[in-house]
Symmetry: C2
Subunit: 219 residues, 2 copies
DNA sequence: CTATAAATGTCGGAG
DNA sequence: CTCCGACGTTTATAG
C-alpha cells in the first residue's frame, strides 16, 4: 500500500463526471492497483476512487487510472507532502455476526417467536421470483410467508407482497398470509404492511440468541 | 489526518458484531475523529470503521472508539510500523454532473423523447406520498406519470405504481398511465412494469444532451 | 459472466 | 430529529 499526501486536483469521467479542485488530500494506492482519494472527514467514503481491476499510468505530475469499462480517474499532483509504501500482506478477512442470514437462521429454529403455534415448512422456499425467507404453517393450517430483514422498510413489504400474490395462486398453499420480521420496522413500512394485511413482528436479536442458548443448555 | 500502519486486531460491536484477526493494516484517523481500517485491497470500503460523530479513547496498546448510539470499535495495536500526522485543511468538495436530477431536467425539456406528442404539466408534481418526477399529458389528453431513474429496477416500478394508484383517484387527472424512464432497465423491472401496464423507455443520456445542444444552437 | 438482494450501507434533503 | 430516496452506491451470491 502506498500512501501519498499531496496537493492535487482530480477529475473522474465515467458513470458521471466529477471534478475536485486543488487541495491537500490523501491518495491511497492499494496492492490490487485500486486508488482512493480521501479528505480529512467522513470515515467511510472516499471523495473519489477507482475500483479494481484497473490500471495506473504514472507520469511525472499526473496519474491516470483507467478500468476496462473506460472509466477514468486523473490525478494532477501539484505538491507531494508525504509518500510512503508499506507491505501489508494478505488480510485474513472479517468475521461477521448478526446479519440477516443469521437472523433468519435463528427464526427458523424458533418460529413461535413470530406467532403462537407457527411451524416451519422450509427456509428459502423457492418461487419463480426468488426464494421466500421462511415458509411456515400456523395453528389453523394456513400457510404463512415470512420476510426477514434486519431493518423493515417499504422494500421488504413490496417484496413480501409479490411473494404473497404468487403463493396465493398455489391451491396447495392458499390461503397465504404474510409476516414481516425485523429488528426494527420503519413507520412507513408498518403503514403499508397494515394496508396489505401483513403482520409486522419486531425481533430482539440478542434475546433470540439467548433463547437459542437456553434451548441448547436444556440438552 | 493520522495514518498508522500497524499489526492489529479489531472488534466491532454495534449494529452487528465483527472481528478482525491480527494482521498488518492501515488505520486512518480523520480530523472529525472518525476511524477506518483498510486492508491492501478494495478501493472503496474499509474492513471496519466508525463514522463521526464519535470519540476515541486512546490507551497504550488499545484504541476504543465509541459513538452516541453505543456502537464500539476496539483496535488492539500489537506493533506500529508507521505513524504520521498530516494537516489537510478543509476540502473544497466535489462537483458532479450526470445524475438523475440532470436526466430529469433534460427529459422535462424534451418530453417527446418519452412518447409522441407528450407535453409537460410539471416537474416534481407534489403528492401526499412524495413528488412525481414528471407529470405529462399525451396527445389524447390523458395524464402520464413519469418516474426517472438512472437505472430502472423493481424499486422504481413499485414507486411509480404507488403514484399511479394515488393519481388515478384524482378525477381531474384520471386516467393516468405510467412511464419508467431510465438509461438502463433491468429485465425483472421490465417484467413487473409490463404486468402493471407501465411503459419502459430507455434514454441515451449523451444523445439527449446532444439534442439539447442542437436545440440551443437553433437560437 | 449477468442478475439479484443485502449493507454496520452512506449521504443529502425535506419536514 | 426522523423519514425517504439516490448513489460513480459497493459487495456478495446465485444462476
Amino acid at each position: 500500500m502506498r500512501l501519498v499526501v499531496a496537493r492535487c486536483s482530480v477529475d473522474y469521467v465515467g458513470r458521471l463526471t466529477a471534478h475536485l479542485p486543488s487541495a491537500v488530500r490523501l491518495v491511497m494506492v492499494k496492492a490490487d492497483g485500486s486508488v482512493s482519494i480521501h479528505a480529512d472527514d467522513r470515515a467511510y467514503k472516499p471523495l473519489n476512487w477507482m475500483s479494481p481491476p484497473c490500471r495506473i499510468e504514472e507520469s511525472p505530475g499526473v496519474w491516470r487510472i483507467v478500468n476496462k469499462a473506460g472509466e477514468e480517474l486523473r490525478i494532477a499532483l501539484e505538491e507531494i507532502l508525504h509518500d510512503s509504501t508499506h507491505d501489508l500482506g494478505v488480510d485474513p478477512g472479517l468475521v461477521k455476526d448478526g446479519v440477516e442470514a443469521h437472523l433468519q437462521e435463528l427464526l427458523a429454529a424458533t418460529p413461535t417467536v413470530l406467532g403462537e403455534g407457527l411451524t416451519l415448512i422450509r427456509r428459502e422456499y423457492p418461487t419463480a421470483i426468488g426464494p421466500v425467507d421462511l415458509l411456515c404453517r400456523d395453528s389453523t393450517g394456513a400457510t404463512v410467508a415470512v420476510e426477514v430483514k434486519r431493518r423493515g422498510e417499504i422494500d421488504g413489504v413490496e417484496q413480501l407482497t409479490r411473494y404473497l400474490e404468487l403463493l396465493g395462486r398455489d391451491p396447495l398453499l392458499a390461503p397465504v398470509t404474510g409476516i414481516l420480521a425485523a429488528q426494527e420496522i420503519k413507520p412507513q413500512a408498518r403503514v403499508l404492511a397494515a394496508d396489505r394485511g401483513i403482520r409486522c413482528v419486531t425481533v430482539d436479536y440478542d434475546a433470540l440468541r439467548g433463547i437459542e442458548r437456553d434451548e441448547l443448555t436444556l440438552f
